[in-house]
Symmetry: C2
């Protein structure tokens, strides 16, 4: 499943503790400990905050808080296109550069756009869950920095904790990710960073709202708490899962995801199944695949569901032609192998 | 504790089921069943939706979605004042009528204000958790309807499921409440209604954002789902707790809260403890109290905490002079009696 992904039993059980006050000394101490575990995940020496809401909330909040007016949305799939909708819905002047679905964002095309017009914010999606494409964020960010002083705001929803995301080294201003994908916590929380540049720039944006004001999160975070009552049980789950992630180690976790992707790619090649994403742009966390000729991808999804197994159908425009295997979060090689055996069995039936 | 309140063990356990896809047929069926349980809670024949986020999110969303420009905030405590901050932070022209802390909103004062100026939206808080005051929403709403066509947007965070809230009978346009108070679910969700009038009016507001666009919630709700990935475990908890609430019955639940309030009031009177809220404006879900002369309320809170018991300190400006007993949610008379015995014991020590 490309998400919400499987959540470990111990992480689910962490949610069941008796409720506590979120302004209590005990909860504040808990939050401060949790806060120390998040910067290594996002590879930053800065602060990492947690919003109670889905990634879309923080995508919107980043635009509302950081963009005085001009926004450039780089799109190559459903979620990056959503960001363009969000920007327009907030009343910002929003342009988009639309790369074809299945292809990565091209840095040189971005360079040309930045030479034509000045932007306050550029938004991009690291890993398009809809198409299984990973874009070269480091290269794109470098170009944006060279050509402009636009803030670089990145959705890493389905890459963070599965593939390298280097907030500081790549010079990213806002990095955000819902916790229900490769982080493998139940949905409802979004972690995010805010660079010093972003803080300074947001300070000059007049109407940042309240729940959408990222500076308000930072102020409260520095006091050891939240802007409003947080989703307490989900934070307990995140804390427990961060112990799991840090015990595995970021590099080991990335390597495991890389291995899961390679296994999937080898299997696909040997079955006449092709990737819908360009070869130089494949995500290590989700494979978006075209079935062998004559096989309906929706039939594969349906027959797996009958066996109690969920994979992703194609997303949006790609629904009739693709299916998606999520190999992220706590997925082990043995889990993936078992899934591929089931798909083999179904393909045999559909071809026969 | 005035919230988050105690959550039943069975409700907490409902959160631990293995994760599922929020677009799956099974989850959609679950959501449709849950959706049938919510209208009786809000006493409406209309739709009730659920946002993943705290009440503040929906307070902001209601202003963003429903107010073209002019907002009137009726304030009489910390949370109603927050709504004024929210309205201004969203760039709306916002006036406030500030009633004294501890007093209810006065309908005739509101009438006079509505005769002076035309508003798109009037915001009010039914039950001010900060001061233990309940305002006569039915009367205020009647005046607003008589004098204007402003939408009536009501925060019922600490009254819903504890005291009568009659969305349809009182003619309320948006009613919202976080689920962590009298509803007694862990924090992270907010339920809300949207009248036909509100839908029509919001349709003419140009920039409603995305996560803050209440019409988007309604559209997705009608399809049997959510605008984005919802906080799935919390929705399982809400579903389980709605069974508990509907089994008790709304009227019986209100009567239980009324009895808890009366018990608290009798106890207070016999101990020389006075209410900080006006006599005609007392909340049945939270009592905001002034200790006997010479006793520091913060000492009571601290000594209870040493015994492992949490009550609320005073809020904001009232921190040095008041303390708050939350008697809402799943609190039983025996729980309240046990608490009052502990407070008696502490008062004896502090007086001695």
């Amino acid at each position: 499943l490309p998400g919400p992904t499987y959540v470990l039993e111990e992480v689910r059980q962490a949610m069941t503790k008796p409720m506590v006050g979120h302004r209590s000394a005990g909860y504040k101490a808990f939050y401060i400990e949790l806060s120390k575990k998040l910067p290594p995940l996002l590879r930053t020496s800065g602060e990492v905050m947690v919003a109670s809401g889905s990634s879309t909330l923080v995508m919107e909040s980043a635009v509302v808080s950081c963009a005085a007016s001009e926004v450039l949305n780089l799109t190559n799939g459903a979620f990056s296109e959503r960001w363009h909708s969000i920007s327009k819905s907030c009343g910002k002047n929003s342009d988009k550069i639309a790369f074809p679905w299945g292809e990565a964002i091209d840095p040189e095309t971005v360079r040309a756009a930045l030479r034509r017009k000045k932007y306050d914010v550029v938004t991009l999606v690291h890993n398009e869950t809809s198409t299984g494409v990973a874009s070269p964020i480091a290269d794109v960010a470098k170009v944006i920095r060279e050509e402009s002083d636009a803030l670089i705001v990145v959705d890493t929803v389905s890459s963070l904790a599965g593939a390298p995301v280097e907030t500081d080294a790549w010079g990213l201003d806002v990095v955000l990710a819902g916790t229900q994908k490769a982080i493998a916590v139940p949905p409802g929380l979004t972690v995010f960073t805010l660079s010093e540049r972003a803080v300074e720039r947001a300070g000059k944006v007049p109407h940042r709202g309240f729940y959408t004001d990222l500076l308000r999160y930072l102020d409260k975070h520095k006091e050891g708490g939240f802007i409003t009552t947080p989703a307490i049980p989900l934070l307990w789950a995140l804390d427990k899962q961060m112990d799991v992630i840090l015990a595995e180690g970021m590099e080991a976790r990335w390597a495991r995801h890389e291995a899961l992707y390679r296994r999937t790619a080898e299997w696909a090649a040997s079955r006449g199944i092709s990737y819908a994403s360009a070869e130089n742009a494949r995500s290590v966390t989700v494979s978006c695949l075209k079935p062998p000729a004559g096989v309906d991808p929706q039939a594969i999804v349906k027959k797996l569901a009958e066996r109690g197994i969920t994979i992703g159908g194609g997303y949006g425009d790609w629904k009739p032609t693709t299916f998606r295997i999520g190999h992220m979060g706590q997925v082990r090689m043995s889990d993936l192998d078992a899934l591929l055996v089931e798909i083999d069995d179904i393909l045999k039936g559909l071809a026969g």
